[in-house]
Subunit: 423 residues, 2 copies
Amino acid sequence: MSKSAIAASGHTYRTQNISKRVQQIVISPIKEMSILADDFAEKSGANIISFGQGIPYVDTPKHIKKACVEAFKQIDTAKYTLEPGITELRQLIAKFLQKNKKIANVIAKKEVMVSAGCQEALCCALATVVDAGDEVLIPEPSFASYTEQILQLGATPVQAPLNEKAGWKIDIQACEKKITKKTKAIIFCNPMNPTGAVLSKKEIDDLAALAVKHNLIVITDETYDFLTYDNVKHISPASIKALKGRVILCGSFSKKYAMTGYRVGYAYADSGIIDHMLKVHDAMMICAPAISQKAAIAALKGSQDCVKKLVTILTKNRNLMCAELDSLSEYLSYYKPKGAYYILVKVKVPSEADGRARVVDSFKLTLRILYEAHVIVIPGAAFGPSGEGHIRLSFAGDPKKIKEGFKRLRSWFNKWKKEGFTL
Amino acid sequence: MSKSAIAASGHTYRTQNISKRVQQIVISPIKEMSILADDFAEKSGANIISFGQGIPYVDTPKHIKKACVEAFKQIDTAKYTLEPGITELRQLIAKFLQKNKKIANVIAKKEVMVSAGCQEALCCALATVVDAGDEVLIPEPSFASYTEQILQLGATPVQAPLNEKAGWKIDIQACEKKITKKTKAIIFCNPMNPTGAVLSKKEIDDLAALAVKHNLIVITDETYDFLTYDNVKHISPASIKALKGRVILCGSFSKKYAMTGYRVGYAYADSGIIDHMLKVHDAMMICAPAISQKAAIAALKGSQDCVKKLVTILTKNRNLMCAELDSLSEYLSYYKPKGAYYILVKVKVPSEADGRARVVDSFKLTLRILYEAHVIVIPGAAFGPSGEGHIRLSFAGDPKKIKEGFKRLRSWFNKWKKEGFTL
C-alpha cells in the first residue's frame, strides 16, 4: 500500500541531500489528487468533477469581501501585523470562544494567537509539545496531515482505530492501549474529518479523563465546529474544566465563511503554551496575512446569517449525496455524517479470486476513477489503516456537480463490475 | 547574555508539557521589540518611533491593490489554490528568475513553488535538507530566524563570523573551519541582513567551491535582491553553474513591492528538492493565500517603475540615516550599507570600570532606548555573537520619523553619557 497518490502514479523521489525525516512524509493525498487532476486535465482536456479537497462551492460572503476591498485603502494592510495577530481580532476570537464554545475567561492577549490557517496552528501546537522520539496518539481514520506534521518533528504518530461499526466512535480502550511513557498528546478533529462523526459529551469526557490520567495535551481541530446536522451539538474539549491548561484548540475561518484561500485561523491555549507556540509561529510565518486577518474581523463582527445559509445548503447537499450513494448500495456503504462535509464510503466488492468481500486498494481505485471517470475522490488509506477499502467524498460542491459526478461514478462502477472488479 | 528581549524584560516561560526543542528557541527579537513596544504604548500612551522591523513605509503600489480588488470578484480567490501555487504565478516567477537572476532554463511546474512568504520557504528548505543532529553553517551576524528554524528541526546552527573589519565580508576560512561531517547546508541572506553587505562575485564563487567540496546545499535568502546602492550588483548563487542541483533560492515580494503583510514568496530549486519541499509546505500551510498570489501576479506583470521609485526613496533614506549617525560618531560607528535597508551600528562607549572600550549588552541597551527614548532598535546580539555590542537600525521608514527618531536618540545618548554609560 502506497501512502502517496503521486508515488502510486509512478513518480520517483530524489534521495541525495534530502533529510531522512522529509523522505518519510508525503503531500496529503487530498492535495495530491488535485495536482494529478490538474496535470491530467491540462494534458487530456478532460472536465473533472471534484469530490476531493473540502472547499465550499459558494463564494465568501459579500460583507467580508467588501471589508477586504475597504481594507486596501488602509496602509496597514500592506504591512506585517503584530506577530501574534491584530489585537482586535484576538479580542473578537476570545469573545467568540466564550460565547459559542462556553470557554470561561479567555484572555485575548495571552491565550489567543492568530495563525495562517488552522493547518499552521496545528503545526505550532505539535511543535510546542512534541520532541523527536515522542509519540502522539491519533484516533483514525483522521485528517491526513496530522501524521505528516508529527513525522516532520521526528516524532511518531500512533494510530488507534475508531469503532467503525458503532459509526466511527472513539474507542477509548483502543486509545489507552496505545499509550506509552513517550505519549505526549492526542490529536483529533471534531466534527471529524474524514468520517463525519461528532464527538458526544461522553466521548469527550472519556478523552479528558484519559488525558489527565496520562498527562497528555489534547490538541483539538475545530475547523467544522459550526457544521453539525440532525440537531447534534458540537462540544469543545476546551470547555471541560478538567482540561484547563491541557488543551490546544485550533480553529478556522476557512469553511465557516468560505475563506479557504485566505489562510487565516487561530489557536487558543493556556498562556504558558501560547507563549511557546508564538515562537514557532514567528520562525515559520512572521504573522498571518494582514488582509485575511481583516476579513476574519469582518466575519466575526458581521451577521452570522451567512453561516446559517451555508449550513442549510450543506445539509441539502448531504442528503443529496446520501441518496446518490444509496442508489449505489450494490458497491458502496457508509455512515450518514453528523458533522463536517465528508462521507467515508466503504467500497464493498467481491474479491477477484474467490468472490468473497475484500479490502480494495484505495489508491489504485481513486487513480482509476480520476483517469477513467474524471471524478476526484480521496483514497481512504490516506487517513489511516482503518480507512483502507474506503474513499472519502466531499459534499461541499455544487449540487449540479454532485449529480453529474454520481452519473459518472455509476457508469464507472457498472463498467468495473463487468471487468470483474479488477484493479 | 539573553537571546530574548521578552525574557530580558522579565517574562518567564512555562516548562511543563513543553518540548525541549521549543524551550530552546525564541521569538526573533525583531518582532519581540514590536510586541514590547505595543504593550508599552498601550500602558504609557507613548508615541513610539520604529527603526525595528524592516517594513517599507510606503503603501503597496496602486496597480497591485487594484488587481486585488478585482480579484475579489473572482470566486477562486475564496478558495485554496493548487498546493504548489497558481500556475500563472509559477510561470511568471520562472521568467523573472531567468531574466533578472540569469538562471538558465527554469521549469515553472517542477522547480518553482509559491510559499506563504520567504520565511515559510526557508523553513521548507531547511526541513528538506536537515535531520535532527545535523549542522547548518551560518555566516553571522545573520537574520535571526535562521537559527530558530534550525533549532526547531533539532539540528545545530553553527555560526562563522563575518569579517567586520573588511566591511562584514564572508570569511571563507572561518566558514571552512566550522565544517564537519554533520554539516548539510549553508544559509545566508544576500544582500545581507543585518549588515547591509552585498556578496561579491568572488565571495559567491568561494562559497560555491566550498559547497561543492563539502557536499553542502546552499540556501540563499534573496529578499533584498532588488535593493543595492552605489552601482553594486546583486548576484544569485543559483546562477552559478557549479551549484546546479545544490541551491535553494528563497525569494520574496514583501519588500520589493511593499507587501510585507501579504505573506507570499517563493522557492526555486532542483525539481528533486522542490518535490520534497512541497511536502513540508503542505503539512504547514496547504497553500499560500490566494489573494496574495494574485497580488504577486500583478506585481510581476505590471510596470517595475514602482520598484525604481522605492529604490530611489530608500537610497535617500540611507543617506539621511548615515548623516544622522555621523553626527553621533562620538557613540556610534558603522559600515555604510551596499544593499538592503539596515545598518548594523557599533556602540562604542567607554567601560564603566576602567574607561576602556567595551562590548555593550545590546539587549539591555535596546530595552532602555525603547522605554526612555521611545525608539525601537534591535539588539545586535539577536543576529549572532558578532552582533553583540551593536544595534540594528532599519531605514525603511518615513524620513520625517528618521529625523525625529535621531533627535530622541541624540538626547538619550547625551543623557546616558552623563550617567557614565551605566546600563
